[in-house]
Assembly symmetry: C2
Homo-oligomer: 688 residues x 2
């Protein structure tokens, strides 16, 4: 993340002109400078401040990713092309065509070529993806299908011959393509896929077949209308030596042309149907594909992790089906990174609209006095302020994830690969679940006007909903996080190293597994509760406790139920563990972001929302803390009280905090969320 | 609710033929018989049973409301008219026309005349409403606008002259009408409405005016396309004696023709615009209305609670604006009853689809064994089984509400009026919030196939979403419940009587405000945790505690903040109190329903889900119980463990429990939720 370079003296803060000049200079000299401050002292000191003023420009500047320029290029292009804006009401078929036109416009007119960034500069790719998704999430997903999924298989699972043949067409959209993995009967369990690819040594071809209805490829984006190719995941079957049977080499990926490049007619042996209307994302043409003895040349095998010679000999650098499968799926982790990142983008838009409207909307008030803003109600603060704090928290966490992913793509460091895998699974699951719930809360918090389609909560929710499912079902992904934690836990006791994000477990296991300290369990002062080390301790204590106890339970149950049965018996526990761990990572990254912020005002604002994020989470699981007496009753009550108070404080700077997301009105679009004249724009929209 | 009349001897249970005959006889002899059993003993005894078999027919029979016949008539009519079925994709304008055709078909072809039941047999009206809503929720709401709202104002706020003039046309749909209350700037705060109706004594007319943009009537159902009349809520202004000004008599209701009865043209002085596309319910034509000196005769005033004579003299049986306002709004409580009841209907449909699919869907499994149903995963049970239990709980609670409402309409007993008012507010808010969240959980629990529009979670969620807002915003309604509780609390200390549903507070206040019993706080046996008196005690303890503490806090804060400020400072607390109270009422009604069930098998099944409902709720707020040491750590853990175990047990009879909702496949409709051939119907739908 970028760090601004101010000179935070009190003198300077009192001179607006000097500040303005200084801030402008930041734009010219964006090199990050870290100020080694005494973090603990500094953070405690900010608690004491009462009057908080937020400098939106400085905060916004600190928040921004490196690639704001290209995001603005995306916004500007679509702002200049109102004909490409998705109307509130549009049929599925029209939406699909519009989405394709938007995509072609982006690539061929605006000159943005995201596919280049997939390989060379993933951070920039994700920035484009987020911006495009805020224009219309269908476009974001259509782009993701083309570049991350279809393009991603060519780049990551193929070899030079594939890149040479397909890169240009994928990049310039002459080769729209599909990622044909999911089947009617198999989504999460990819190893259970039933589509087969039998090698025919006589003709040097693979024969792709759908053996039964359950194996029909389902939900395949780009398949119903636009796709020319599909990367088809199928079990590779090789004829045995005596030619009497086949040996199953596990799931492999094959490039299969599905429509004629010129006529666009569906090719022989391929049956395509439209999956039809979806809850959202109707700009994406999902289809179902059945293969009947479709022959493709041997070169169609994406052969990075396993290859076949002309004489039918299989070779691989990886020793087993499971290892090859893991390597194959491991390359597809970028999709999850993109979803986590884009999900925060959606949350920013929704929170901005809901909070701006809650400031504008007035209803009831003290007797004989003017009505008050609904954001002045404690209940509305309760709905929206922890959400705003979470949005900031997720912003820093997903920015960190994108950086890690980018590092991984460059270094291929094995430990980093594992870390990014678990972190992307966990953040994708946690953030998308949170955003999905928040979109419903935002709609409800905006009452009747939140129900007008033009105010966007409906389409944002419907489009985002599936983020919880695709690229890995959230419940399945959290189990991967839990499994990884257990692996690290075991390795720790065998003296192994821990992945970077897991590092805290090393100390916490030793420190926390003794009984909670009955003295600190009673501390209830604001300074203590706002001390980041208390907050982190609380989060990590919970995670460590959950990890240790689930390890014990798994060991116990596996004796009678076997490992699968034991896992299932502890499943809720494991999911809570995974969420708790991800929350710990998010808090740690947020605290780092606060501490790295060099400008005092901005740091104070971030500290305030970080405290709200931390204490709200602790309060939400106060039962767990009380059961183990980690907090005494008086402390629990103090946490609750302080959470409400911090929500109230955040409300006082809520306008500035959403302004700092820096979303222009033509991106948020909802009339009720406009920065000025919201009501009159709304009546105008309706026809008055 | 109806009670079946079996003869539950063990002997009988072992004779299938005899049972079948006996069950058939129930249908012929549906008179309820209560069996005075020793409830406590009986309920504990059911805990001991291990093998549970559920007789779907008997359970379904016990569950049914009195008016299943007319619901089946609705289902049969629409099943016979596939041309009236709402397609998955339909434009707003087509949907509105289809919805009107559905409505006309229901009333004029199927011969169902719901408006008659509004007055004479509200239970039957709500049964029709629920059934119609399950065909298309837009139709349910369109019907509610016509009969509960527009018709309701004529029936409940008007006098004989209005009924004589409008009843027939409302009933047979020749007079489609609107309920024009909400304005752009005022929804919840009805007393803040700004539309005015000035009496002109010269012409004996009212002049209706929209004084500013904020006073435009907004979201008015039936206004954009079909409405001929509107009941307009406006401040009645009477010229003062000296004719120099006006005196404000408060909000009154006026019947205003808005379109020509023959030409359907908008009448002079009235400007109507379409509110446009909504998140859901696009079959309902919501419009915005502006009035410019629209003159209506004096008879247009709905004059039950306040009347005006030819010479401009205002008379009312009620002494103040506030009393009249309360009486007016009090008559509109039926809408909330209908929403709470219909919301449970939506929850039943969604739970049925999600649970049937979770039984069908298989994914992963123990090594080298077949895959298992996803409902066998603890995480899926955690998502869906407490939801199934809640559906049953809400079923009995809303059935009770409908009965109470019906009694109230007959008796006009003042205490009953207050009780129904608070109960309908609380149940509407609690149930619709729960259903809204559950619809998202169901979609997510069904993964990708849950995202296909044909599988209905999207439209159910989008249509139901606004249930949380209209007929009283849930956050506002819960405050009414809290206010009522505080009123009752004060009256108790002044020796007054308590409303029926509040009765438990009398004892609980005295019993519970002492310290929790440190001995029972440690009891963790299954018999104890499944004892309804423990469960009720826990719920009521929580409510009493919240009530007593908020009363103290309000008194304290009102000294410095005034009553409005104090209320706002305690708002989250008050909302929790209201929810806690409603949960207590729901549990009490569920326990009664279990105890009244005469057939052992069915009673056992209900007892099991009632226990799950109770313990899941206690666990969800375990923090509160721990903070006051009402439960010790060992007991908290035992509650958690038992909740997971009960979810597992409910899973084993989940199919029977959803079957007992008795929703035919042509009502649930979702291919993935069909009772047989779900996958093949689904592939067939897509075109294979």
């Amino acid at each position: 993340m970028q760090i601004s370079n101010p000179n935070p003296t009190a003198d300077d803060e009192n001179q607006p002109v000097a500040r303005r000049i200084q801030r402008l200079s930041l734009h010219l000299n964006p090199t990050p400078h870290h100020h080694p401050l005494n973090d603990h002292q500094l953070l405690l000191q900010t608690c004491a401040r009462t009057k908080l003023t937020v400098d939106t420009t400085a905060l916004s500047y600190y928040m921004r990713g490196k690639h704001r320029d290209i995001q603005e290029k995306v916004f500007d292009y679509f702002n200049s092309r109102p004909d490409l804006q998705t109307p509130v009401e549009i049929s599925k078929d029209e939406h699909r065509e519009l989405c394709m036109r938007q995509f072609l416009g982006l690539v061929r007119e605006a000159g943005i070529r995201p596919f280049r960034y997939v390989a060379e500069d993933p951070e920039k790719y994700f920035a484009v993806l987020e911006a495009v998704g805020s224009i219309d999430m269908s476009l974001g997903i259509k782009m993701g299908v083309q570049y991350s999924l279809w393009g991603g298989t060519v780049l990551n699972l193929g070899t030079k011959k594939h890149k040479d043949k397909y890169f240009e067409g994928i990049d310039n959209l002459e080769y729209p393509g599909c990622f044909a993995m999911t089947e009617l009967h198999h989504g999460s369990n990819v190893q259970g896929l039933q589509t087969i690819a039998i090698f025919d040594p006589m003709t040097d071809e693979f024969i792709i077949d759908t053996p039964n209805d359950g194996a029909i490829k389902w939900w395949i984006g780009n398949a119903a209308v636009h796709g020319k190719f599909a990367t088809v995941f199928a079990k590779l079957l090789l004829p045995t030596h005596d030619m009497k049977g086949n040996s199953d080499m596990g799931v492999h990926a094959f490039i299969v042309p599905i429509r004629d490049l010129k006529t666009h007619e569906t090719l022989p042996g391929i049956e395509i149907h439209d999956c039809g209307h979806k809850v959202g994302l109707n700009g994406v043409d999902n289809g179902a594909l059945r293969f009947r003895s479709v022959r493709v040349p041997r070169d169609s095998l994406l052969n990075r992790f396993g290859d076949l010679s002309r004489d039918g000999k299989y070779t691989s650098s990886l020793p087993s089906i499971n290892k090859r499968f893991a390597a194959t799926l491991g390359e597809l982790v970028g999709g999850r990174v993109g979803l986590a990142y884009s999900s925060v983008g959606v949350l920013k838009i929704a929170a901005t609209i809901a909070i701006r409207y809650s400031l504008l909307r007035q209803q009831f008030g003290p007797p004989k006095q003017p009505e008050i803003s609904i954001l002045d109600y404690q209940s509305q603060q309760h709905k929206l302020m922890p959400m705003l704090a979470s949005t900031y928290a997720f912003h820093f966490a997903t920015l960190y994830l994108v950086e890690k992913y980018s590092d991984m793509k460059k270094s291929h460091d094995e430990q980093l690969v594992g870390d990014v895998h678990a972190l992307s699974a966990g953040l994708k699951a946690y953030v998308t679940s949170y955003t999905a719930k928040s979109l419903s809360i935002c709609r409800e918090a905006c009452g009747g006007h939140g129900y007008a389609a033009v105010n966007r909560f409906g389409s944002l929710r419907n489009d985002h909903d599936i983020f919880q499912t695709f690229e890995g079902d959230n419940t399945v992904l959290l189990q991967q996080v839990a499994a990884d934690l257990l692996k690290q836990y075991k390795e720790k006791f065998q003296g192994g190293t821990l992945a970077v994000t897991w590092n805290y477990l090393r100390e916490s296991m030793n420190t926390y597994l003794s009984q909670p300290n009955p003295v600190t369990a009673r501390w209830e002062g604001e300074d203590h509760l706002r001390d980041p080390s208390f907050q982190l301790d609380a989060f990590r204590y919970r995670t460590s406790r959950l990890l240790q106890s689930v390890a014990v339970r798994l060991r116990k149950h596996s004796k009678t139920l076997g490992s699968f049965g034991a896992w299932n018996r502890c499943l809720n526990h494991l999911l809570t563990l995974a969420e708790s761990h991800i929350e710990s990572v998010i808090l740690a990254k947020f605290i780092e972001a606060v501490q790295s912020c060099p400008e005092a005002n901005t740091r104070d604002a971030l500290k305030l929302i970080c405290d709200l994020y931390a204490l709200d989470r602790i309060w939400n699981d106060i039962g767990t803390y009380r059961i183990v007496d980690y907090v005494a009753p008086n402390k629990a009550k103090a946490i609750h009280k302080l959470t409400e108070y911090l929500s109230f404080q955040v409300r006082n700077v809520a306008r500035e905090l959403v302004d700092a997301f820096d979303l222009p009105d033509y991106v948020t679009r909802a009339p009720i969320g406009l920065q000025s004249d919201a009501y009159s724009q709304y009546t105008h929209y309706v026809g008055f």
